[in-house]
Amino acid sequence: MNFFEKLAKLDRRWVFLILAAVVVITLLVDVKTSIRVDKEVRSVYDFMESLKPGDYIQMSIDYDPGSMAEMHPMTYAILEQAFKKDLKVVITALSINGPGMAEQAILDIMDSVQILYGKKIVYGEDVVFLGYKPYPGIVILSMGQNYRISYPQDYYNTPVDDLPIMHNIINYDDMKGIILITGTSGVDFWISYANGRYNAPLAVGLTGVMAADYYPYLKSGQIFGLMGGMLGAAEYEILVNKPGPAMEAMKVQVWAHIIIILFIIIGNIGYFASRRKGGVQ
């Protein structure tokens, strides 16, 4: 058994260990990495920058703790940008674990905006969290008619008509745009129902696993922006000029990918070497 054949049959736990070591070391060492911002991420940023104070946007935070690593940095960056620009933000969560994610992000950003920029964000005036409702397709269709059909009350059981932020809005027509940060297939409902039926302008932030499937919707104009996984989140952090956890993670990603590519090459060399000798078929 030669060197490459031995490597091809290496216990996979060594691969895990080496990958873990690379991740830990690159996270602790100050490694620089440069990231180019793609136009599909820039178009989300440009849209946000084009809005005037008092304009309404909707954010749908449809992910669970399992996708938090990729999604939270996007939510935080966009929410902070919205609050800095004095936008009115209506937040929903159509994934069952979404409310916890959304509430954490809202409270954290309300605090950080006050500390960093001295802006006091008032719940019910600047932001409202409508909460979770089951069956996303039906909820998305109903919000196109009137938010009050699915959400007569907000997440904290306050009637929405008692909240000043809701006085001027009825349905998607009152929103300048909807930004989905989602780790679920609920994005299909948003594209088909909110955009397809009500022409609501949509931008999406997706997990890396999902991102490649939704590029065709960019070309067709059904979504106007797309942030894919940790890379998309890091690009957005660059645009808002606030490098955070996604930027930090990307420097690790680069080295982790190099290691994975090396293992793939070694595995293939080992495979072909074995096949030449008639070992592996």
Binding site: E70, P134, I191, G196, G208, V209, Q222, Q253
Partner: protein, 259 residues
């Protein structure tokens, strides 16, 4: 970090490491954490569905502030979806399972009615139009936008050859074989892109957990003496477990070789 948050974070770190320990081999720490996760997730989802779904959209509407025995005081017509929902429970009876087909039929009928026209429009018509609709306008090769023209050609070739790969009414031989081969290469590039994004996604999850553990260690060291002690005790216990496993592995090896 206050003590309450620190304790919960310490538990989080322990559970994270327990889950990762499965990468080495199955063990009691992993099995405990897996069971805990399933239990907590089920409990959490049940409560969320009760308070965000069933209670406000059914029960509160049937009983609007009156005692539970007054069944017709509120919006009585909500009994119809309520009863349809209850019929779903007949799935558990082998003899009466057919009854549950009525609510399923009702649900699928509504979903189909809402979805089919919109799905056809958004997934087929819009995509066809974006690929072939403005073909001549999109095929521009100016000095500034020549790449968009090239992209357009790649997309059209990719769509046609990719579709042809799944067209089996003619044998994939000769010219048709060549077209199908281009199609499979295009599909492989697409799968490659998805795979790359998937690897990035999985590594992202791992990085976030390592960031979480690092932040806990930093918080412990910067916190009170008690917190620092907990971090050290935790680290030493982990080291001890690893050492014990290494010793066990070394001791076990000669016996295995003898077998």
């Amino acid at each position: 970090m206050d003590w309450g948050t620190f304790i919960w974070t310490t538990i989080g770190v322990g559970l994270t490491l327990s889950v990762f320990s499965f990468l080495y081999k199955d063990n009691p720490f992993y099995r405990f954490t897996e069971s805990l996760y399933v239990g907590v997730a089920t409990g959490y989802m049940t409560i969320i569905l009760w308070y965000n779904g069933l209670l406000p959209t059914l029960i509160d509407r049937i009983w609007v502030g009156q005692p539970w025995w007054q069944l017709w005081g509120g919006k009585w017509w909500y009994w119809i979806p309520g009863i349809l929902g209850l019929l779903m429970w007949f799935r558990f009876s082998k003899k009466q399972a057919w009854i549950s087909r009525y609510p399923i039929a009702f649900y699928i009928g509504i979903s189909m009615g809402a979805a089919i026209p919109l799905e056809m429009k958004n997934r087929v018509n819009e995509q066809l139009y974006s690929t072939f609709g403005n073909l001549m306008q999109n095929l521009t090769f100016g000095p500034d936008n020549w790449w968009s023209g090239v992209s357009e050609i790649i997309i059209i070739i990719g769509v046609l050859t990719g579709l042809f790969y799944f067209f089996f009414s003619v044998p994939h031989k000769g010219v048709f074989g060549g077209i199908a081969k281009v199609g499979i290469y295009i599909l492989m590039i697409g799968f490659g892109a998805s795979f790359g994004f998937t690897v990035m996604g999985r590594i992202s999850l791992f990085i976030q957990r390592i960031q979480f553990i690092r932040d806990w260690v930093v918080a412990g060291n910067e916190g009170t003496g008690g917190m620092t002690a907990i971090v050290w005790i935790f680290g030493l216990l982990l080291l001890l477990l690893i050492l014990l496993e290494i010793i066990r592995h070394i001791m076990k090896k000669p016996a295995d070789e003898a077998v």
